[in-house]
């Protein structure tokens, strides 16, 4: 059974608390998050340790300077990633958020996200919230200075909080509602309307091959 199925639908996501992991840089694409050569498999298993593989390790296998290799950020348990602009652009591969999730990332705070990546995260129950450039910059600085404090993303209050400091975050209302109500796994909801789906299909001339 996949972890995703175990997580089972209709689990509201209201508050995610985890150790911060900074992943700075604009336009970080999903090829960088999970290189395609690791996608020749029919499950998502084992992707966690391969996340950001080529940014973390050189061709010779030696670790590079990367936050995910930094012992200060390697404590086990749930994590909240901090990113900059257009995170997750490029390929639609869900392997990217799957790899991050398997590495422990359960929420992401950033300046902005690519559309498909954002949608994939919602479908997995991972909130991606945006904060201002200044707030993200100060979060990154604060986390560098003291990585030990948890970062808490609260979708009720729409804040990201660390220690005593909170910054406001935002998220499209639709995705927020899905997460708060636990309807982020859309399959059941979509399947429930199958009779209406058939009606919609029957009204489309191409579905009947333009026979009429």
């Amino acid at each position: 059974m996949t972890d995703q199925a175990k997580k089972s639908a209709l689990l509201p996501v209201t508050r995610v608390s985890g150790r911060p992991i900074p992943l700075p840089g604009n336009d970080i694409d999903t090829d960088r998050i999970i290189p395609a050569r690791f996608m020749t498999a029919i499950t998502f298993d084992g992707l966690g340790e391969l996340a950001f593989r080529d940014a973390r390790f050189g061709a010779d296998g030696k670790p590079l300077d990367h936050p995910m290799n930094d012992p200060r950020f390697r404590a086990k348990g749930p994590r909240v990633a901090i990113v900059n602009k257009n995170f997750g652009c490029g390929s639609s591969r869900e392997h990217a958020p799957q790899a991050m999730w398997r590495w422990g990332v359960q929420a992401i705070v950033g300046e902005s996200f690519a559309d498909i990546f954002f949608g994939n995260c919602v479908a997995m129950g991972i909130p991606c919230v945006t904060a201002s450039e200044a707030d993200v910059a100060s979060l990154l600085r604060a986390v560098e200075a003291d990585p030990s404090q948890d970062l808490v993303v609260d979708l009720d209050a729409m804040t990201a909080t660390r220690g005593g400091t909170s910054v406001p975050v935002s998220m499209p209302e639709g995705a927020r509602t899905q997460l708060l109500r636990g309807t982020w796994d859309a399959t059941r909801i979509l399947v429930d309307a199958l009779p209406k789906v058939r009606e919609t299909a029957d009204r489309l001339p191409y579905v009947g091959g333009f026979a009429r």
């Binding site: 059974m1 996949t2 995703q4 199925a5 840089g25 604009n26 336009d27 694409d29 090829d31 960088r32 290189p35 395609a36 050569r37 020749t40 498999a41 029919i42 499950t43 080529d54 061709a59 900059n84 602009k85 257009n86 652009c89 490029g90 390929s91 639609s92 591969r93 869900e94 392997h95 690519a114 559309d115 498909i116 949608g119 994939n120 479908a123 209302e173 639709g174 509602t177 899905q178 109500r181 796994d185 859309a186 399959t187 909801i189 979509l190 399947v191 309307a193 199958l194 789906v197 919609t200 299909a201 009204r203 489309l204 001339p205 191409y206 579905v207 091959g209 333009f210 026979a211 009429r212």
Partner: protein, 471 residues
Amino acid sequence: MGKSLLDKVWERHSVRELESGQTQLFIGLHLVHEVTSPQAFAMIREAGLGVPFPDRTFATVDHIIPTDTQVRPLADGQAETMMSAIESNCREFGIRLFTPESGHQGIVHVIGPELGLTQPGMTIACGDSHTSTHGAFGAVAFGIGTSQVRDVLASQCLAIQRPKVRRVEVTGRLRPGVYAKDVILDVIRRLGVKGGVGFAYEYAGEVFDAMSMEERMTVCNMSIEGGARLGYVNPDRTTVEYLRGRSFAPTGDAFTRAEAWWTSMASDPDASFHDRVSIDGRGIAPTVTWGINPGQAIGVDEKVPAAAAFAADERATVEDAYEYMGLAAGQAIAGTKIDVAFIGSCTNGRLSDLREAAKVARLGRVKPGVKALVVPGSQAVARAAEAEGLHETFRAAGFEWRLPGCSMCLAMNPDKLSGRQVCASSSNRNFKGRQGSPSGRTLLMSPAMVAAAAIEGAVVDVRDFLSKAPA
């Protein structure tokens, strides 16, 4: 107030509004390939769900399939496992699969259109970001992730937010040696790699009116590289004539009815858009990327730009790009040495692309030391090209003529860069490591420019080559 094509398609396909504010949108055509589907099929099976519209889903194999020999079992055990998985999944759920034995196999975004599966006014989804390609027909086509592939299999629907529409007009005419690839690289260069986030791009203007369907596909294909999840061109005569006679297109009276419906889905003359952008087509030059995202592009006659020319928040990426690419600000991009030349992919692996590249290939031979690959986008493209003798032209010039697949566009099959090799590529992504070597470097350009680079052994202005061509 008139409606845009996106408005019309959205209304016709909307099953209901969801509590979340998203639309439950019916998907008219679902395309599936071997990489993003196995987990989705597994989820369906685990949840005990079925596939209620199996005849609205079509599958092929493209990403992992080798392009030298496709004899089974595939040499790479993991690739063979993925191949077997899609075969058994399609069999189990009654989905039509185009394998190499079918004669219709190819890159998913090449075969959908050429089989006539892709039609105007449809909604299309595929677990692949370049699904935007199908927008060339005036379809609303989304790239989706694996959980959404599961949703479409189980319900033929997506829960999705309606995008805003930006009209991108390219006026005038393109100059000789300037191709559809240059148009989209220029659009992305201007609007940025994140400029299109939250948008659908409606491409319009004289340049698009004059384009063939294959050229429109090249442009729509790379919408996602500009952040726009979908891009489309309104259906017109060119669209209708392309579809006439295709395997899955209607015939006879049904075609007449289809034609009327297709063209009725085009945006009304008084449709409103969120915003508009206009670009003068005469100002577009043959374009090449110099950096690590498709927006880091310049005219082939320009120099690598200085970091100071970019917005403050772009500069870190620009510095990173100089270092990764081994290029410096102020350096001319023409003359950059290449090791590999790749002609193919869902962006530029169609017959017209191969014809343009072959025109250049006739004018010289691949520079010794350069590895040059031509990979047709589908078996149908390969047959058509071979019927014209293009394979002979390429071979005579020192290019390898391969079997259809994604090949060196991404690194999931044996075609990969090694070390810091530089590749002139007609594909769509110059991301770090995209072509299979963690330090490999990609320069995106049109297929004709790739062919010219293969011969020169370096980036060169294709117009210089074409001026040598006999008229």
